[in-house]
Symmetry: C2
Subunit: 323 residues, 2 copies
């Protein structure tokens, strides 16, 4: 295992990337291009990615024996054992695609696959905010709220690879409808689209003017990005919206803490961009809704890898404790 | 390891028991007596339990080499590594008691210790409702709502042995005060005392007459037991109270399912006594608040061991995968 290289394949709805990396997470080579799942079928996308992987090996003059394996990070649901991907929302038309099997044949290497949230959690755990911990939870705060749970040094998969759907715990029993079809999910209260919706719904009496200006005057165009920007400028309306979303997020995080007693929880995307504007209300809610003994054992921090997280996600599948 | 015996010590607030059992969970000998933590100090209680353990070995004519180890189940918080017990609510005066160390010296055998909820979860997993699963959650529904989480064949401990506090997730952000000091915990909405409180608070317009009669006419004496009894007789008021508590319980269970994707969740105490009267509303809420793919992979069942669960809790600490 020592000194071997890893091929990481990140299949996203917008762009896909292939990297060649070391076991320490150093990226030697990287290629990326738009995925275009609407224009190209799954097989075409996969063949292109395999070709890119071969290009990387050629460019670095790497003999195939020097590669430990291929890691694939892809939108779920998927089956980590069979390696079949089942209709991820961000990859329309990918119904029952045998991704693992494809790369095993195309590259003649062992392949591991995880859904993107779990793979990013592994990357933050191995290389980023969770490094050195045994019990770690990663939560994205972007378009959705996805998560990955590491317990006692191992990623939790659950019965059918759906562990870690922390964004779809219920925070408000009669809360707003979530994209998943349920009501009052954390994702419906604290994700990017939820923050934008809170702002649109609260856009009364002219208090939302700064946010609206940033959105070009069109309420329908308001995004979480505009609210974070306005809050950074000191706009009280935007600050209040982030406080509301942060409070819900804090309740969801407190629930995770009560169930799993992690040492560290890392928050991605909006938490990284907004910083204290969202971290402070999160911490205040955690103080109210989690036990002191549990809080005292747990750091809540922004994710550390930023955009590198996605690149390292697939690579992290091949990092084991012996490294 | 084959064919060896295990000594199980269950230290409860009311009674304590010592058993001698096989690795298959067959109890060969059992002694129990009131714990009386208010009358006897921790050392006195522990010495009595060690004496009882020696009696069992003598009674069965067991050479010490035939015993694999001692398992101790005790109210938490406690540290499973050092084996020190820190002021459990049900054992007043037990502040920093080195329980593991005590039994190691007293019985000259290796000792393992877990909090009672985790130990009972292990027992239900090894011998009861969760047998044969890799991802299992156990939840008591008694005086409190405690839990234990088995993930990929291992008990989750978390950073400081507080994983599994599922009863203290927040279900209603502005809900009733919980015994733990937080608001809106699952335990404050669906435990035995919570069910009794729901009944007392809803005891209007004479609809609660049957429950009140069972409680001897004194509203303050209403317990969950009276409500379950009245519901079994068909009393609509009592049935409605169980429906309300079951709905909250179902939301809490759905949250666990979304986070951990277990194969089986077993519910103890009230769920066992009330049967469908509480299981049906639980299932209805789970159907509303958990994803179909996750629900379809998970059985929700009453605990299978009943009172044997407590006896086998400490024994289960010594059962390993090789058995």
């Amino acid at each position: 295992m020592d000194g071997k290289l890893i091929i990481g394949v990140d299949i996203g709805g917008t762009k896909s990337a292939v990297v060649l990396a070391t076991e320490k997470g150093e990226i030697r080579q990287r290629r990326s291009e738009p995925t275009q799942p609407d224009l190209r079928g799954p097989l075409e996308v996969l063949e292109r990615l395999a070709a890119m992987a071969r290009e990387l090996l050629t460019a670095e003059n790497v003999p195939s024996g020097a590669v430990q394996g291929v890691g694939v990070s892809c939108g779920g649901p998927l089956d980590t054992k069979t390696g079949v991907v089942y209709a991820p929302p961000n990859l329309p038309g990918w119904e029952g695609v045998p991704v693992k099997q494809f790369f095993e044949k195309a590259l003649a290497l062992p392949v591991r696959i995880e859904n993107d949230a779990n793979a990013t959690a592994l990357a933050e755990w191995r290389f980023g905010a969770g490094k050195g911990t045994r019990n770690f939870v990663f939560l994205t705060m972007g378009t959705g709220i996805g998560g990955g749970v590491i317990i006692d040094g191992r990623l939790a998969h659950g019965a059918n690879d759906l562990a870690g759907e922390i964004g779809h715990q219920t925070i408000l029993m009669n809360g707003p409808l979530c994209g998943c079809g349920k009501r009052g999910c954390l994702e419906a209260l604290a994700s990017g689209p939820a923050i934008a919706r809170l702002a649109r719904e609260s856009a009364l009496y002219g208090r939302h003017r700064r946010v609206l200006t940033l959105a070009g005057g069109r309420p329908a165009d308001i995004t979480a990005h505009h609210i974070v920007e306005a809050a950074k400028e000191g706009d009280p309306f935007a600050i209040q919206i982030l406080e509301e979303a942060g409070t819900y997020m804090g309740v969801g995080i407190a629930n995770v803490m009560q169930m799993l007693n992690p040492e560290c929880i890392a928050l991605g995307t909006i938490a990284v961009h907004a910083g204290d504007l969202i971290m402070k209300p999160i911490e205040a809610a955690v103080e109210e809704f989690a036990w002191k003994r549990i809080r005292d054992a747990c750091r809540i921090v922004p994710a550390a890898l930023g955009d590198r997280g996605q690149d390292l996600a697939a690579v992290a599948l091949w990092i084991t404790d012996s490294d």
